[in-house]
């Protein structure tokens, strides 16, 4: 890429700035009809982009937009792209901002150097390369913006999805819903252990009714949680094992022998009550609910 083409690009951008801007805005507005875009905002963005582009194309290399000369252009595109991602634009609608500049810009290039076909070709090619890169950059930022949203939501889900509930004095339950991965196990383990310390619970029930599949990795994560709780001095019961999961566990050869497992949370709760020396009995007829609930049993 020679300096001539860059000078041509910057020159045309500078000389016909107002014309290019007007045409470009017209194209953009017709393309973005479905979305309500603030016209003054769009005009401001477009004007700033054109002037920054002219400076950058005049000083920097049009083939490499990652250099320092392009920093301002990149920052502007990032802002626009992020704002559009938030407003719900599609990636192509976002990239449209850059790509729609081609038509008016190329027309002026052709017009300016119509006497020299070679020169028009070379300058157009250089400008295409430059605008394509800028367009791809915009799409990339748009994508990143979306991914950030996904990551944030994942984090929020992670925090929401691991409640530790107290079933009774000294008995905690941890209903797990969704797939268990390493990051989630860590959060689950930490919140469970912290609650054990806070409440002084001696039994924790981990209910996996909401866990869709249990593979060796999930089983290992579960066993880790159980082992950590045991080190703290609390016993763990795993409940909510569905028939298919029981089969999978056996087929995979996962050793769950050290852990007490129960089919339902109710069964696990009954065991936990018994271990705490509590029993549940039916209230006698005619008496109020005061007689119901758990009563401390004599047997230990």
């Amino acid at each position: 890429m020679t300096r001539t083409e860059q000078a041509d690009i910057a020159g045309v951008l500078g000389r016909y700035e107002a014309d290019i801007l007007a045409e470009w805005l017209r194209i953009q507005q017709s393309a973005l009809r479905t979305h309500r875009v603030d016209e003054t905002e769009l005009r401001g963005q477009a004007r700033e982009f054109l002037s920054l582009l002219r400076t950058a194309a005049g000083t920097g290399n049009v083939e490499d937009i990652s250099t320092r000369e392009w920093e301002d252009v990149r920052r502007l595109l990032e802002d626009i792209s992020r704002a559009r991602a938030r407003q719900g634009f599609t990636p192509s609608q976002t990239a449209m901002f850059v790509f729609s500049l081609k038509e008016p810009f190329f027309r002026h290039l052709r017009h300016e150097y119509r006497a020299d076909v070679e020169r028009v070709g070379a300058a157009t090619w250089a400008a295409t390369v430059m605008l394509d890169r800028l367009g791809l950059f915009t799409t990339e930022v748009h994508q990143n913006g979306r991914e950030e949203v996904i990551a944030r939501q994942q984090q929020e889900m992670l925090e929401l999805s691991t409640p530790v509930v107290a079933l009774w004095e000294g008995i905690l339950a941890l209903p797990l819903i969704g797939t268990l991965d390493s990051a989630r196990t860590q959060v689950v383990m930490e919140s469970l252990l912290q609650r054990i310390v806070d409440t002084g619970a001696s039994i924790a029930i981990i209910d996996i009714t909401g866990v869709p599949t249990v593979d060796t990795l999930v089983a290992q994560h579960l066993l880790k949680t159980v082992a950590a709780a045991r080190l703290m001095g609390a016993d763990c019961i795993i409940s909510g094992i569905r028939p298919q999961i029981a089969q999978t566990i056996v087929h995979l050869g996962v050793e769950l022998q050290d852990v007490l497992t129960k089919a339902t949370l109710a069964d696990a709760f009954a065991v936990a009550l018994r271990r705490s020396g509590l029993s549940v009995q039916k209230a006698e007829k005619g008496r109020g609910p005061a007689g119901s609930g758990a009563a401390r049993g004599d047997q230990v």
Partner: protein
């Protein structure tokens, strides 16, 4: 020489570890503890590690050793007061201290020892 104090509570011994362990200290503790178990005919050993923020593999092995030695002398070892972060680290290291009993605090540890003894006395089957 630096020593870790061993307190007698009823027929149990209470060891509170507050400093970082090193080989010499661990050896001394094992020696003192076994002597005291025999001397007092202790039936339980409580090791309180609630003030430890870091437990490494050496510490893990030492706890397991103490538990094994006490078992030979017919005393139950209960490790009490482990912090959540320490428990997670030990599990990640693959040291789940098999054969060592645990409790949330000293009080519960004492209950555990008392409970086991009553079961022993009545001749009931003890859980493995």
């Amino acid at each position: 020489m630096e020593r870790i104090p061993i307190l007698k509570m009823g027929d149990s011994l209470l060891v509170t570890i507050q400093v970082d362990m090193h080989d010499r200290l661990a050896m001394t503790l094992q020696e003192d503890l076994t002597t005291r178990i025999v001397q007092h005919r202790a039936r339980g050993v409580l090791i309180d590690i609630s003030s430890l923020e870091v437990v490494d593999s050496f510490m893990g092995r030492m706890l397991a050793n103490i538990a094994a030695m006490s078992r030979v002398l017919d005393a139950q070892t209960v490790v009490v007061g482990m912090r959540p972060a320490v428990a997670i680290t030990l599990v990640e290291l693959g040291l789940s201290l098999h054969g060592v009993r645990t409790a949330l605090n000293v009080e519960k540890g004492m209950q555990l020892i008392g409970h086991d003894r009553r079961e022993d006395d009545t001749g009931a089957e003890r859980e493995a």
